[in-house]
């Protein structure tokens, strides 16, 4: 390794040195170099960076090691439709594709314009894929596609699983994207570039579940054009550290977005939902609802930002809600909702609450004969269920029953 590369990250830890070595092995490529330089400027994000104060990846990843266990099961396994699998940074493509869907393998790294704002996105843009194989995938949706397209990120005791997929949805086309982030790598990082053109629509359903010795980052950068509709629903159980970060820009008039999420964090699990929505055009709509439930030793984080610039952001209609349940003593939730509004003709609502289950409700249910742990599970399930309301029909039941299984299994909540 060249000396200048060794010192590219200040006070690098073992993981960062390993990432530098992986970068050095890849061919020269100005886009790769720009992305990696942006990552190297900070290294793995850490608590002294404002946007990462509660999610310290550098501290959580001292070494890049394969996890001990096997990846989690996929709740969407029974769904029909084409599947892209990502295993230890290798892309496995479906043999048949429905009409309206094209997938291209990109040999070189693609540009990543937001590299400075998203250090783990930049890292993934630089290192996605394997040497001599595809760096990333480009997916084009040219008409409404009936079957969901599934992306499964799952490795078998790998050190890293780094992948990047770009999706463009052409005018009037539609796609249902279903992602399962199942772990199996010391560091899993997925970067999604999503472009919706005029009048296009898409749903994104995201399931994440990692082990206590894994780090996972899921970063999405979404651009939405005139009258496009985008609806995202996530269910996350966390890992040793997990960051699910979504940046969405309404670029043209009348674009609509839904960003819903639920997190359920048991002991030793850390889930961070961070989002940044820019109302860069008039009369765009955002609805965001995040629900969380956390047990003793678990940690949930919500950082949400709405940015409504002067002039272009008029007639914005946006609402941000985050509500969390601390199911036990020792559960932790950190929330930072931010509204930055510079336009004057705007409707922007927000709400943020954090508390325990209602004792009156618990007593009422127990008086009817429902045991305490079951009453807690029922109330918690009812609490998070609202987050799945906007998911596609084929997914909402699966998300709810997956949440229910976790609540039923965690007798600790009694």
């Amino acid at each position: 390794m060249a000396t200048d590369l060794k010192s590219i990250i200040t006070n690098a830890n073992t993981t960062e040195l390993e990432l530098v070595a992986r970068y050095a092995m890849r061919g020269e490529d100005p886009r790769r170099e720009r992305a990696f330089s942006a990552f190297a400027a900070t290294g793995l994000p850490h608590r002294r960076m404002e946007a990462w104060r509660w999610s310290d990846f550098r501290a959580a990843l001292p070494m890049l090691e394969a996890p001990k266990g096997t990846p989690n099961a996929d709740p969407f396994a029974a769904l029909q439709g084409p599947v892209i699998e990502i295993n230890a940074s290798r892309y496995i493509l479906p043999s048949d594709l429905p009409v309206g869907l094209r997938i291209l393998e990109r040999p070189d790294a693609d540009a990543f314009s937001r590299a400075e704002e998203m250090p783990l996105g930049a890292l993934t843009a630089a290192l996605a894929g394997r040497k001599g194989a595809a760096s990333g995938l480009a997916i084009e949706v040219t008409e409404p596609v009936a079957e969901p397209l599934r992306i499964i990120a799952r490795s078998e005791r790998a050190e890293a699983n780094l992948a990047r997929i770009s999706v463009i949805v052409r005018p009037g086309a539609h796609i249902d994207l279903v992602e399962s982030h199942l772990g199996g790598a010391g560091l899993s990082s997925f970067l999604l570039d999503f472009t919706l053109q005029e009048g296009a629509s898409a749903t994104r359903t995201l399931y994440q579940n990692g082990a206590g010795d894994e780090a996972q980052a899921i970063t999405a950068n979404i651009r939405s054009a005139s009258a496009a509709r985008y609806a995202q629903t996530a269910l996350a159980f966390g890992a040793r550290i997990t960051r699910i970060e979504t940046h969405l820009t309404h670029q043209e008039t009348g674009s609509q977005a839904v960003l819903n999420a639920a997190y359920l964090a048991a002991s030793g699990r850390h889930v961070d939902f961070t989002s940044h929505i820019r109302h860069g055009a008039e009369a765009c709509t955002t609805r965001q609802l995040t629900k969380g439930a956390v047990l003793d030793g678990g940690r949930g984080i919500f950082q949400g930002k709405f940015m409504v610039p002067r002039g272009v952001g008029q007639r914005t209609d946006a609402a941000m809600q985050h509500h969390a349940l601390l199911l036990e003593d020792g559960a932790e939730v950190f929330a930072k909702p931010e509204l930055e509004i510079y336009a004057d003709d705007v409707e922007c609502a927000h709400g943020n609450t954090c508390g325990a289950l209602d004792n009156n409700q618990l007593f009422y249910m127990r008086q009817r004969g429902i045991p305490e742990h079951e009453a807690k599970a029922m109330l918690t399930q009812a609490f998070v269920a609202e987050a799945f309301d906007q998911a596609p029909d084929f997914a909402s039941e699966i998300l709810l029953s997956t949440a229910q299984t976790w609540l039923g299994a965690n007798k600790a909540i009694a």
Binding site: Q361, F363, M365, Q367, R368, I370, F383
Partner: protein
């Protein structure tokens, strides 16, 4: 007749630590199977405290005395165990349970009680048939029973839902805490009919009320007057009428 509910010299406090306030001060009461007893008393007498002490609500501590249901000490049991043993409370202020439909809630409760007693679960068709029948008697539509429990229901509808749950769960012993409050005269009749349907030789009931009017429709076998944490007077249904005419001060003053 052997008493079904037996309360003996019950003392109880409300609140924690230094804040604990004695509310029940030596309450003794016997309700035999097959009888309906009414407890009447002024505000602050301890009526609601009694219902919460018997059902095991947190924050209500029994400091001495005993309470048994069919000979079993209920004070050591968790609230859900008391329910499985057959104790039901119709709440003065029914609690909203968002996201849990009435039918789901009652079926979960019924099966949890059955499981605790070592009985089989109720079958879905049997449950739905029974719910439709009882819902019909109480003017609760199938649509209402699909909505989340008590969410967006009027005060009268919530009270009818309490009676609906009682009729579905068929408890051995029911406590009705101010079930008449917030009811208009038609709703009061509907609720009373539901209660009267459940009168049975093997079942006991305790009706806690402020006013005589509920007792026009649910004829009690005995009326007890609760004042300052104790039963100060016991009589037949005529005692309720006297309370209505003379007020608590008159009747309690005479007892003291």
């Amino acid at each position: 007749m052997r008493p079904m509910l037996n309360l003996n010299d019950l003392h109880a406090t409300v609140g924690e630590g230094d804040e604990a306030k004695p509310i029940l001060k030596g309450l003794s009461l016997e309700v035999p199977a097959g009888e309906v007893h009414a407890i009447m008393g002024p505000n602050g007498a301890g009526k609601s405290t009694l219902s919460y002490v018997l059902t095991g609500r947190e924050g209500y501590e029994v400091t001495s005395g005993s309470a048994t249901l069919e000979g079993a000490d209920i004070l050591d049991m968790a609230p859900e165990a008391r329910a499985a043993a057959g104790l039901f409370l119709s709440f003065q202020y029914p609690v909203e349970i968002p996201g849990v439909p009435v039918m789901t809630f009652v079926r979960t409760a019924m099966n949890a009680q059955r499981k605790a007693r070592g009985e089989d679960e109720v079958s879905a068709p049997d449950f739905i048939k029974k719910a439709r029948e009882i819902g019909g008697q109480l003017n609760l539509t199938a649509d209402m029973l699909k909505r989340p429990l008590n969410v967006g229901f009027s005060g009268g509808e919530k009270k009818r839902l309490e009676i609906f749950q009682m009729m579905m769960l068929e408890p051995r012993f029911a406590i009705l805490d101010e079930t008449d409050s917030g009811l208009d005269i038609d709703a009061l009749k509907t609720v009373a009919e539901g209660v009267n349907v459940l009168r049975a030789p093997e079942r006991g009931m305790l009706v806690i009320t402020h006013y005589q009017r509920l007792l026009d429709h649910i004829k009690p076998d005995k009326v007890h007057v609760l004042s300052a944490g104790r039963i100060v007077k016991t009589g037949g249904p005529e005692l309720a009428l006297r309370l209505e005419e003379e007020g608590y001060d008159g009747v309690i003053g005479e007892a003291a």
